[in-house]
């Protein structure tokens, strides 16, 4: 699986306005909603589901990267988006290395497709181990730049 298989281009947020973990999650879920990925009536419940998952344990995987996620019946296929923070001090996320984050990859999976969720997680973790990719992602200033990067072999 490649990132471009589940990242929704129109939902990418190259400059997050939110500066806290919960606000970032809300901003990214709203961006997926604005890109037409689920119904109005599901929006608040999807946000709650991702926040609830985060409360069980941080999805901050270290090195400034977090992968908040949830399974939810609002989607029939795995969808995701990427948010980049340019905020000073980045975003506190209770990550495993204690470092704040500036790259957030949000995933929403259907309830009944665990394989897709696991493969997407694998893809994100594997991709984010590539220092050059992460450096290039941090340098992106527009949605098109992020999309060009993740479709360039990712």
């Amino acid at each position: 699986m490649r990132m471009s298989h589940f990242v929704v281009r129109d939902a990418i947020v190259p400059t997050l306005t939110a500066t806290t973990r919960d606000e970032v999650i809300r901003e990214l879920v709203r961006s997926l909603h604005a890109a037409g990925q689920f119904l109005n009536t599901d929006l608040e419940d999807v946000i709650r589901a991702v926040l609830r998952r985060e409360q069980l344990g941080s999805t901050g995987i270290g090195r400034g990267i977090a992968i908040p996620h949830s399974r939810h019946a609002a989607v029939s296929q795995l969808v995701g988006t990427i948010g980049l923070s340019k905020a000073d001090g980045r975003i506190p996320f209770d990550s495993i290395d204690g470092e704040p984050v500036d790259i957030v990859v949000l995933l929403i999976s259907p309830q009944d497709r665990p394989g897709d969720h696991l493969r997407a997680l694998e893809n994100v973790v594997q991709t984010m181990r590539d220092d050059e990719f992460v450096r290039s992602l941090r340098a992106c200033r527009t949605r098109d730049e992020v999309w060009a990067l993740i479709t360039g072999g990712r």
């Binding site: 998952r53 069980l56 344990g57 999805t59 995987i61 270290g62 992968i67 996620h69 399974r71 495993i96 665990p114 394989g115 969720h117 696991l118 493969r119 997680l121 694998e122 973790v125 594997q126």
Partner: protein
Amino acid sequence: MSANGAIRKTVAVANPNGLHMRPATLFALAARTYRSVVTVWNGDRRADGKSSLDLILLVALPGAELVLEVDGDDAADAIGPLADLLGSPGEDT
């Protein structure tokens, strides 16, 4: 390898969502409480059992048969609890 050799046990993934981030994190945290080297295999894929990210890269689907290998002076104490955790049905998270 320790003087006594590694202990191995095959464990089927019972979590209906597979070995996703939460169970991988819980397993890695538990594995880190032992001195032994903890390795988990899913076929040819090998993960450091003390790294949740490594465990995610196993892509262990529900029902997958994993091999848990524990090597060190506390391996005999570690194998049971770690095998139970790896094979736990977990919560729906």
